[in-house]
Symmetry: C2
Subunit: 302 residues, 2 copies
């Protein structure tokens, strides 16, 4: 989103990317309500208490892998759509030639091994020569780096089912803010606007107190997530103004990076459109965006 | 979308609107695979053969109504979100003061009665004094009106589960085209871009041969639909160019119409953003939009 030379991606526990394809899926079963349904054999069900009254069922054609690491249970099975994530964000970052260094924190090496075996097209991200893997807890790692180390920090560390997650605490955001250079950016998954389990407005208010730059909210479609969408919280630290809606260094669709495949979803227009929120969610928009260049999309239209 | 004085909405069989609220839901059970699941009592499941390997489950707290009209089975039950449709589009049209006349075709009066009883906030659309209800088959009705009668025709006639539906046939589109004035517009639900059951590209090609004006494709989020999104096919007849992306008569958010409630979802920005399609779906975009005013969003950005 901004020209950057160093980038930290932080895959803590769970990660599912938004790149759909007919592939297998890995599910990280930490929740008691994600399981092969006892009464509907052959179907995996995701029936989370914070989305009461709804469940998403996936037919399990074949269980390819089942295992338990120190951190989570994993099950890999064949389903119709969705590509699962670990290494996926690395693969996408690899499309940006301006990036000089990519540090990734992943505490669970079994997760990496499972992805490399069953999702080589996703795990290919690890093969980018700019990637340096740190097998450690992300928060510990952040504590160890000097202030202002990173231009961008991407957090893809958990399924969007835990609004009380420690990664939504002020302490974590302060740690991220400190690790970023002035005008550096954070991107973190932040719930679906359709569910009330996470108070997004409160989260944005908290982040505005910590980050001091631009704090904005975007959303996109993920067919396999309950409600079909996921949101992203974007924050920049005090410094040069970051216009999240209009990247000053747009992606080059001809640079396939390590993936060797063109983009399937992302375009510059889709990027800007992701910041257009429904009436009921307009309060999530950065107030600065009303009058500053942080609101390129609106500015150009009015 | 365009200034219009007369508008036909055509509710053939099924209709579910995209306005979420904590309310009851009516489901039109024509499909054998939409039912209270025999093995999971208390849960309604939608497990459609054209979306293999996925099912959406809704917990049924209480069945409020169960009945069978000449055209369909209906079940009304309490669920967490989604407002169901009949009268909903009328309610939304009522926000447009430029509309002088609204004809609606609905063949199934039991559906109207069920909505009036269980979804008065949706069925309130029928109370707009510009509405004239025609209890008849929409195709028969269209056959009976003189050429060029309507400025806009909106079809919300079926759940997005039947790509072989007669409403996607050339004969139906020709009938619509004939009933529209030059530069008149059609809006019809057209599947999710995530599913391959309907060949959207082929559909657009067919429509371009028939409508001769602008043919475009947009999408939006509907949490209760499988994949979480639904698409819209928009066609204009030969005549004054219609720029679907940038309404020349944008909605007045202060005009609540018959609903007496402000808009919950729609904004002018969300409208334009709905035409920004993922890379893999860019072929759905009107080729004329590349060089004409039908592509206001892109034009302003580049």
């Amino acid at each position: 989103m901004v020209p950057h030379s160093s980038c930290l991606t932080y895959n803590g526990k769970n990660g599912v990317s938004a790149l759909p394809n007919r592939a297998s899926q890995v599910l990280h079963n930490e929740e008691p309500d994600s399981h092969i349904h006892p009464k509907v054999p052959g179907w995996f069900s995701e029936d989370c208490p914070i989305w009461p009254g709804q469940a998403h069922f996936l037919r399990v054609e074949k269980i390819l892998f089942q295992g338990k690491s120190k951190y989570q249970s994993m099950m890999v099975f064949q389903v119709m759509l969705i590509g699962g994530g670990d290494g996926g964000i690395l693969r996408e970052i690899s499309r940006h030639s301006s990036v000089e260094q990519i540090d990734i924190c992943e505490i669970d090496t079994m997760l990496i091994d499972v992805y490399k075996e069953f999702f080589p097209d996703v795990a290919i991200g690890y093969e980018d020569c700019r990637v340096k893997l740190h097998v450690t807890d992300g928060t510990l790692f952040l504590n160890s780096v000097p202030s202002g180390t990173y231009d961008a920090i991407i957090v893809d560390a958990f399924d969007p089912i835990r609004p009380d997650h420690e990664l939504f605490e002020s302490e974590f955001f302060e740690l991220v803010s400190k690790a970023l250079r002035p005008g550096g950016v954070l991107c973190i998954q932040a719930e679906s606007i359709w569910f009330k389990s996470l108070d997004i407005e409160q989260l944005l208010t908290k982040c505005r107190q910590i980050f001091k730059g631009c704090v904005d909210y975007a959303w996109t479609t993920v067919p396999a997530y309950p409600s079909g969408v996921i949101g992203f919280l974007l924050c920049s630290t005090d410094g040069p103004c970051v216009d999240f809606r209009n990247p000053i260094n747009p992606i080059d669709p001809q640079n396939y990076g390590i993936s060797k495949q063109p983009l399937k979803f992302y375009t510059t227009e889709v990027h800007s459109a992701a910041f257009c929120l429904p009436s009921f969610a307009k309060k999530f928009t950065d107030p600065k965006a009303k009058s500053s260049s942080c609101n390129g999309f609106d500015r150009e239209r009015h």
